[in-house]
């Protein structure tokens, strides 16, 4: 009896300490080192830098604000369009938006260049135009296009949370479609709109890929930070740039927390089981949102269509013909990379989820104050630009004490701990579904902490765990910002290879890689949902009784 308890106490304490140490070491410490070291080291001072590079800041803000406005407008348009649709139409259209979640962030820019660039399929081949796609307008357009999907999904998700009886009550009092949208839907979506605006603003500020690829001579802070490391090797300058980017990001984050809170507490009164009908297709909102939605979906189709065509065709005397050539050509760039990327993603997805669920176990079930703090530290990479996290790793693990940056293990650690921010959120939601008395029951019956994990915690959150893993896998497959400075030649992952070849103008190879990334993510999603579906059937009769 006693020995059994001793083992479980030991395991409990070990896990607790390991969690604390790893979060402090791999999240807090990198941020601290970049902060401390960059202010101590030689180089230009922060104030001088700001004065000198004010124009970069201006550009960044200009792009971020316009992108934010356009993104909010477009995602709100899509969400409103959905209000008119029956669920049988909503499902495929939502699924299509989800595809953008499984592709690397700069696919849009890649498609844009292949379509509208100097030798673009549309401008050059079809219309014989010379149109300069590079510059601020290109960045804004592409960021809007690629951020809108996620934001629309957030707003559409929020629409589904709205109490249908509220909408039905308004209609029963005589409100027609336009009035329902103006008086109910828009005001009720307001917190969501603010969250979406902030996310877009922060993402746009931190996005270095789009400006690098299609900014042309238009420079912004993020792309400048990237070039500072990659071409000039000037870590100090990169650090200053990232500090500048962090200030609005932090401000935005506090607003975000505030509004996300109101977003979840707004649901009010009792919920009914009635469904809200699609609104009648009358009034002004319907035709307007419908037109814009058609344009948006058209652009998405064009984007993925052109990537796919690029990946499987060659141009033969001005004629596109089907060919495996691009795929064959890409082999020399991808040598070993696919396997490496997938294994990184598997490890990061699994370990990241495990760490996150255990943190949540301590912070929620055991109500440990300290773990709450650890959880908060874990969310830093979510708030701050990815490149900042990567730069932090450079400062932290390549100094005089560490030389870890030459090892691929540091890349794996980086992508794993970057998951923790989102994964703890997902874990919290999953754990909230478990009745707390189950844990008490285990102890009541003589079980230990290990029994709690083995018999209650993990089995009961299995579905949430699988989804968290999937999310970690996908985001590792598509991430680039935090690892781009850490990767050495010979240990590249797919996104980085893709980014390289895009910059070298090898758009066909890039398209092949984009397709492969999307394919791998879709296969993994299919596997996870397939397994979940099978499991669920077995669980059904248990949870019903």
């Amino acid at each position: 009896m006693k020995r059994k308890h001793f083992g479980s106490i030991l395991a409990d304490k070990t896990v607790y300490i390991l969690l604390s140490v790893s979060i402090l070491g791999f999240i807090l410490y990198p941020y601290l080192s970049i902060f401390i070291q960059s202010f101590q080291e030689q180089g230009i001072a922060f104030s001088a830098f700001i004065r000198q590079d004010a124009v970069l800041l201006q550009h960044s803000l200009f792009i971020a604000i316009l992108t934010m406005v356009l993104t909010v407008f477009m995602s709100l348009t899509l969400a409103i369009f959905f209000v008119f649709l029956k669920s049988k139409w909503q499902k495929p259209l939502r699924l299509f938006l989800l595809v953008t979640m499984v592709s690397p962030p700069f696919v849009t820019s890649l498609a844009y260049i292949t379509l509208f660039g100097r030798r673009g399929m549309i401008t050059h081949d079809l219309l014989n135009l010379t149109f300069n796609p590079y510059g601020a307008h290109g960045i804004i357009l592409m960021e809007t296009l690629s951020f809108t999907s996620l934001n629309a999904l957030v707003l559409i998700g929020m629409l589904h949370q709205l109490e249908p009886a509220v909408i039905n009550s308004a209609r029963s009092l005589g409100a027609k479609s336009d009035a329902v949208i103006r008086d109910m839907i828009l005001p009720l979506l307001r917190p969501g709109v603010i969250v979406v605006a902030l996310i877009s603003f922060i993402r746009s500020l931190a996005d270095f890929q789009t400006p690098t690829i299609i900014g042309g001579s238009y420079r912004v802070l993020a792309s400048e930070g990237y070039f500072a490391v990659i071409s000039a090797g000037d870590l100090h300058r990169a650090a200053l740039i990232n500090f500048t980017l962090c200030i609005p990001a932090l401000l935005g984050f506090f607003l975000y927390i505030h509004y996300e809170h109101t977003m979840t507490t707004q649901h009010h009164g009792l919920s009914s089981d009635t469904n809200a009908l699609p609104l009648p297709k009358k009034g002004w909102f319907f035709p307007v949102t419908c037109c814009l939605a058609v344009i948006f979906y058209g652009a998405l189709l064009l984007q993925y269509g052109s990537i796919l065509i690029n990946a499987v065709t060659v141009k033969n005397m001005g004629q596109l013909t089907f060919s495996w050539q691009p795929l064959l050509d890409s082999r020399m760039y991808l040598d070993g990379t696919i396997l490496r990327t997938v294994s990184y993603a598997l490890v990061a997805g699994f370990v990241g989820s495990l760490i996150s669920f255990l943190i949540i176990y301590y912070s929620q079930i055991r109500q440990s104050r300290w773990m709450n703090l650890i959880e908060l530290i874990g969310t830093f990479p979510y708030i701050l630009p990815g490149t900042f996290f990567g730069l932090g790793y450079l400062y932290a693990f390549s100094g005089q004490y560490f030389h870890l940056t030459n090892l691929s293990i540091i890349v794996i650690i980086n992508v794993t701990f970057k998951q923790v921010a989102f994964a703890t959120k997902a874990a919290k939601a999953a754990v909230a579904q478990v009745e707390p008395t189950y844990f008490k029951t285990v102890h009541d019956l003589g079980g230990t902490v290990l029994n709690e994990w083995h018999d209650v915690f993990f089995p009961m959150t299995r579905q949430g765990f699988a989804l968290t893993f999937l999310n970690g896998f996908i985001s590792t497959m598509t991430t680039i910002g935090s690892i781009i400075f850490l990767i050495r030649p010979g240990q590249k992952v797919m996104t980085i290879v893709m980014f390289d070849v895009v910059q070298r103008g090898e758009y066909q190879i890039a398209s092949v890689i984009a397709c492969l990334i999307i394919l791998i993510c879709l296969i993994m999603a299919g596997l996870v949902f397939g397994i979940l579906g099978l499991k669920q059937r077995r669980w059904l009769h248990v949870s019903r009784s």
Binding site: A170, R171, S172, L173, A175, K176, L188, H268, L270
Partner: protein, 312 residues
């Protein structure tokens, strides 16, 4: 006829939820739809307010067919079971919302809303946030929001089922008072027979998507049309075929030569229920708690008059 429903049928994916319902509601009447859970009460209401498309049959309001009209185009408002007040508006704004769609100035609308608050006895809550109201207050505002637009017909779907017992009793009286004062025709859905008795002019008893009987409360109780109504409303001792006798209609007398023997006694406060065993069957009998009570084991004689229902 004010509201006339004819052969109303609703089929959900091969599941027949409503079977050819036909009934009418008179001007100013309060019709209560009573039935067990899942019998199709809510579905019936949403056929009336237009949130569900009917499979076949017609609905007429004041002679005009509205079967296919959009919910917002019908002169019908609904109070849903969840209070569904607009969370982003205060009490007054909630009350005034429906008036936006009538040709009434803002001032007049506000005056109306204030008058409605008086009627609801909630004047001090004009600018209160919805979140700060209690359940009962929210329900009253929801009621007021629907009443203020003076709909031709008001539908209520178990509006009081989320309130506690005491509040429910007082809300029933309040609703009845408002209905008489404003003269609005109402269809009220409930599964609680006490509630039905308390507020109905007539009661429509429904089971499995079919109308079992439409009558006043007393008629339902005293002349149930069939076995479902008999057992759903009140208690009954069933005899052969269509014969039955209500427990309170049986007289009980102590008799050492009696055929019956008391085998159970359940104290209820104002009344006492006895179970009496006779050679052929057992009876439930309800007596007022007055004078000497019987004890288990006592021998008794029963006297009663057999009653008959129309059909099985």
């Amino acid at each position: 006829m004010f509201l006339e429903v004819k052969d109303l049928t609703k089929v959900y994916q091969q599941k027949n939820v409503l079977h050819q319902l036909s009934f009418g509601v008179e001007t100013g009447e309060m019709l209560v739809v009573l039935g067990p859970s899942g019998c199709g009460k809510s579905t019936l209401l949403s056929c009336l307010n237009g949130f569900t498309q009917v499979t076949s049959g017609t609905v007429r309001l004041l002679g005009q067919e509205i079967t296919k009209a959009m919910p917002e185009d019908r002169d019908i408002t609904t109070v849903f079971q969840s209070y569904s007040l607009f969370p982003h508006m205060n009490v007054l704004q909630n009350l005034m919302y429906g008036l936006k769609f009538q040709k009434i100035g803002k001032k007049a609308a506000k005056a109306k809303a204030i008058k409605m608050l008086q009627l609801l006895q909630m004047t001090e809550y004009q600018t209160a946030r919805i979140q700060d109201l209690s359940g009962g207050q929210q329900q009253r505002i929801a009621l007021g929001r629907s009443l203020i637009v003076a709909p031709k017909l008001l539908l209520l779907d178990e509006p009081f089922s989320n309130l506690d017992e005491k509040l429910r009793l007082s809300m029933r009286l309040e609703l009845r008072r408002l209905q008489k004062e404003l003269g609005i025709t109402m269809v009220f859905v409930t599964h609680d027979q006490q509630e039905a008795f308390a507020i109905a002019d007539r009661i429509l008893v429904m089971d499995a998507g079919k109308i079992q009987q439409i009558a006043t409360g007393a008629e339902l109780y005293n002349q149930p049309k069939n076995k479902f109504v008999l057992t759903f409303i009140g208690e009954a001792n069933q005899l052969a075929n269509t014969a039955y006798v209500r427990p309170e209609c049986i007289d009980l007398r102590l008799d050492t030569n009696g055929q019956g023997q008391i085998i159970q006694k359940i104290f209820q406060g104002a009344t006492i229920n006895y179970q009496v065993k006779l050679p052929t069957q057992t009876f439930w009998i309800t007596r007022l708690n007055r004078g000497a009570a019987f004890e288990v084991g006592d021998l008794v004689t029963l006297t009663y008059q057999v009653q008959q229902m129309e059909g099985k």
